[in-house]
Symmetry: C2
Subunit: 204 residues, 2 copies
């Protein structure tokens, strides 16, 4: 089967497949073109519908738009990541709210025991919160691409430093920082290989 | 701004937005219509392009298609999840390969030190592997929807039991189990609310 046949085996149009996955690339430099609040609201309004366990929705987002905000963030990134973040018109600090269960009476109203169920065991709650917020990071990255923007997700950062600077006194913990904007000059490295289906998938 | 205005602020077509996020729902029952290997190969061939840190690609997938495979899996799911998994024509056990770094010489060939960098600290490697594999779970769920299929992701399971049954003697650990198929009768609960933009996003 050629890859065009495969693309046609999906219901999503090939243009949309390209926009989200095949032509989209992790950008390493950005143009000056601003990212509007309207765009970010539209992205959130789309990706908020992605599923989480028991409708937890533990993802929290700090948008770093000001020069002052950038200066608070940059020291906590790996040196190799600072220039690209400095060039991005908008940077999203994506975090997990490990106290997501406080909102379950509102988000999972048909099961009044939900909040207490998650409140009983901190380690269990934190682990599930991280898993579900990370799923939402995946949805968010694709949402940025859905807006026709390039996303540059980064995990090369000092979590303790970012948590203290942006989330001190809260139950939020950074997961990933994502540069957002239109790609700049020489924005891409060569495309790296992907594992074959048979290296990843087995059937029983 | 109305939500139609917001949908139009994105480059992704509204039909594609609906297919992936707005009309797509977590299915709780499935029809008998089979999910073909061609569909799963097309899904993988699309979502493999989603970004991971240093091209780690730690996601591994066991597709449970046979009755025998189902019987190995079901005892390790929460009782409330068993009937829907039993009704699904295909079930994907999504796991992380915490030894992903063994493949980095092939996947990140321009940096020969990559394998040793990740090999030095098991805890650091496992944490990043889980984060990146979970991002890939997010891409995978949307890929299932891109194929016009319903996904039913579940975290209500006994990880130790699944790891022993399916991944004994390997460095793989289950993250999420996803039921896959065409929705059956009464497949959806009522749509649950989502957090507002201002509850999730702050700007600095």
């Amino acid at each position: 089967m050629t890859s065009t046949d495969q693309a046609q085996a999906l219901e999503l149009t090939e243009d949309a497949q390209d926009l989200l996955f095949r032509q989209a690339r992790t950008a390493n430099s950005f143009s000056d073109e601003p990212v509007t609040e309207e765009q970010i609201r539209a992205i959130y309004d789309l990706v908020k519908w992605g599923p989480t366990s028991m409708n937890q929705q533990p993802l929290r987002v700090v948008l770093v738009r000001s020069e002052e905000g950038k200066q608070r963030l940059l020291p906590h990134l790996k040196e190799a990541n600072r220039a690209k973040t400095e060039s991005a018109p908008l940077v999203a600090v994506l975090a997990v709210d490990t106290d997501f269960h406080e909102k379950l009476p509102q988000m999972f109203p048909h099961y009044p025991g939900a909040k207490d169920m998650w409140g009983a065991d901190d380690e269990f709650r934190h682990e599930h919160a991280k898993l579900n917020a990370t799923l939402q990071v995946g949805y968010f990255i694709l949402g940025v691409r859905a807006a026709g923007l390039a996303a540059g997700p980064m995990t090369g950062l000092d979590p303790a430093g970012i948590n203290e600077e942006f989330f001190g006194g809260t139950a939020h913990q950074v997961l990933v920082v994502v540069n957002i904007g239109k790609p700049g000059e020489d924005a891409w490295f060569d495309r790296l290989p992907r594992l074959d289906y048979d290296e990843v998938v087995t059937t029983v």
